[in-house]
Symmetry: C2
């Protein structure tokens, strides 16, 4: 049972074919699990083996090709006719002699597409260098085109149902952040706090459940707040330290990230307190600038001006398009809120704006997930924006 | 602070260089996060952007190259001299015009390696087709060699400390499976059961914590037990259904998976009960056959003979080498217990043997993680092998 109506999938297929046509692509081979899900509904943790969704410009339905044991999973989760679900034999899996892309190529030949312009997602996760070389070797007469992000760019504007899923994720994210604030304390082991966070993420609410997030909880503390992507340890939290909490919730694979920082102790450093105020002001101002017609780079300028007044600067981007996704990233790799990105905001684009300052031996972060509305923005979670302090 | 002694890392480097020498590789560019961790100690959820560890055959220490904001993470987790940790500017991240592999190529040129034989992991996760093409374009005089699994094959035999981590994961895995058995019940939402499982995974024990696992909990129920890789929903468990539970625990990135099946109800189908007995007997017999000197394919034959007597057959492999890893797979992609795999078992190889029968509309699975000992095998978890039945 696919999660969206047939009409919604058909609309996605139609937009994908329009983009293929503009780029001169006859057949697209989609490997990115989020793009596979978007076009077919397929949802399973099987992207650790090669699998694809193939869409031909003159066909109505894509084809799913994956490991034999996952074909039943495709029957359960997609709207595809069962004759368009093709499983390959298990001796292709992590074989040192046979590559699953040979099955993909054989299917392409069987359908007479071997001389067509074939698009592949050249920089997608789970489409390896070897996968591409195998396809080239098996299909010497095909013209290969880079279709990287072709489907991802269509995903940038969400439908009403997608927005509903992200709002649900946002409500779970509020509970997740509250769990973190309640649980993290001096003497508590980092793993025990993260355990409660996971529990809240997956339980969801009484009305609907939570799904796994494309990033694990990022909870660096103390001097590790100077870098964003370390995970937890089993050491207890100390006192007089900051804890960055880059968290999220997910519902039906749609995300709503949310980041805050908490200080444990009575004496937060003045520079942390001061920076937190500037960052929150920058976040507020950047969010207020969101509306249809504005370019992504202009949002970043609003932020940059606020922090420049306080003598701060930030090299990294301040946000990115996100929504439907699988590990290792909830970001869509399309629009970013950063200098040079001229993408024009439009209603129902959805972003994670993350204002993180990671300095030499401390850091502060504050983020919001939101959609662009007709007149401005709407955040998916409703949670105070400030430095939290737990005077233990 | 790297988790192993400098001597242990030096031994890994020495073995890697021996293998490079045998394969005529002067410089290896490692992208697989587990292989990066193995050679450098690096541990962070940053593999969603291109990052590498480079080892030259005539140098003692590798180089880490990653995103600028993760360089502090590399300083925290590796044993590398800080001058061998190189961060790239943030405008390379998910850029439509600049690729991070240009930074990698520039570093290779700077060190005079641009005409060397350069090994890349052609079928590794997180080394995209585009990454390889960019490297080729920037280094036209290099001779590229496929170094896929070169480091992974060295990882196949674990050190005493690695085994200790896996044993710790095994003790957590016992608690995880018990949590599943205690929690899954008719009327309980799947997400609420999985929430408790996650909580137990991450809490670990009183003495040490748990880490995120490379797969999420796999918990298909009812007719979905016919396929292994669907994740949970927010529907309540029904009665008179089977629930497959492919779970795991992780400690310091080292895994110990464990799978069992539970039937909810008073009337388990005879074919499920019968199959469970055959599968458990096959599992027991295959484990008893484990000892140094035996080939992987011979273990599978033992299993196949047991189930053949009951008229059953299984196409897919029955196990694979595993240990240190990151999403999306705890398997190492080297040795598999399957026909044709002539890898000879040796002490401190570690496997996940998973006997799963996924038939048309139901399934049963039973697995063990173990190490090969001097005389046989030792499982990391100690948990009864049978079909569990909850008469609700």
């Amino acid at each position: 049972m696919a999660l969206f109506t047939i009409e919604e999938y058909q609309e996605r297929i139609r937009k994908t074919k329009t983009s293929m046509s503009e780029k001169g692509i006859d057949v697209i081979v989609v490997s990115d699990p989020a793009n596979m899900n978007y076009l077919s509904g397929y949802d399973g943790w099987s992207f650790y083996v090669p699998q694809v969704v193939i869409l031909a410009i003159d066909e109505d339905q894509p084809i799913w090709i994956g490991r034999g044991m996952d074909a039943n999973g495709a029957k359960h989760t997609t709207y595809l006719s069962h004759d368009r679900i093709i499983g390959y034999a298990d001796d292709y899996v992590q074989s040192l002699i046979k590559h699953p892309m040979r099955v993909v190529a054989a299917e392409i030949k069987k359908r007479g597409w071997q001389t067509k312009a074939i698009g592949t997602e050249m920089d997608a996760y789970y489409f390896s260098a070897k996968s591409f070389i195998e396809l080239q070797k098996q299909l010497p007469k095909a013209q290969f085109r880079d279709a990287n992000l072709l489907v991802s760019w269509i995903r940038i504007i969400k439908s009403a149902t997608e927005i509903e899923f992200m709002k649900k994720a946002g409500k779970i994210a509020e509970r997740v952040m509250q769990t973190a604030l309640d649980t993290v304390a001096p003497g508590v082991r980092e793993c025990d706090a993260v355990a409660e966070i996971y529990r809240t993420q997956i339980r969801g609410t009484e009305a609907y459940g939570g799904d796994y997030t494309a990033f694990v909880p990022m909870m660096p503390s103390g001097e590790k707040t100077s870098t964003p992507h370390l995970t937890w340890t089993d050491h207890p939290y100390r006192t007089e330290i900051a804890v960055n909490m880059e968290l999220a919730a997910c519902h039906n694979r749609y995300h709503s990230p949310l980041a805050r920082t908490m200080y444990l102790g009575k004496n937060p450093p003045a520079k942390l307190v001061d920076t937190s105020k500037v960052v929150v002001e920058g976040c507020n101002k950047a969010l207020e600038a969101i509306r249809p017609g504005v370019a992504c780079e202009d949002i970043e300028i609003v932020w940059r001006k606020v922090i420049a007044r306080a003598g701060l600067e930030k090299e990294s981007r301040i946000g990115y398009s996100m929504g439907l996704n699988y590990p290792p990233d909830w970001g869509e790799h399309t629009a970013s809120l950063r200098p040079g990105d001229k993408t024009i905001l439009a209603p129902n684009m959805t972003f994670h704006m993350i204002l993180g300052m990671w300095l030499d031996d401390w850091g502060f972060e504050c983020s919001e997930s939101f959609r662009v509305t007709e007149k401005g923005h709407e955040t998916f979670a409703n949670f105070p924006r400030r430095l939290f302090i737990k005077e233990t």
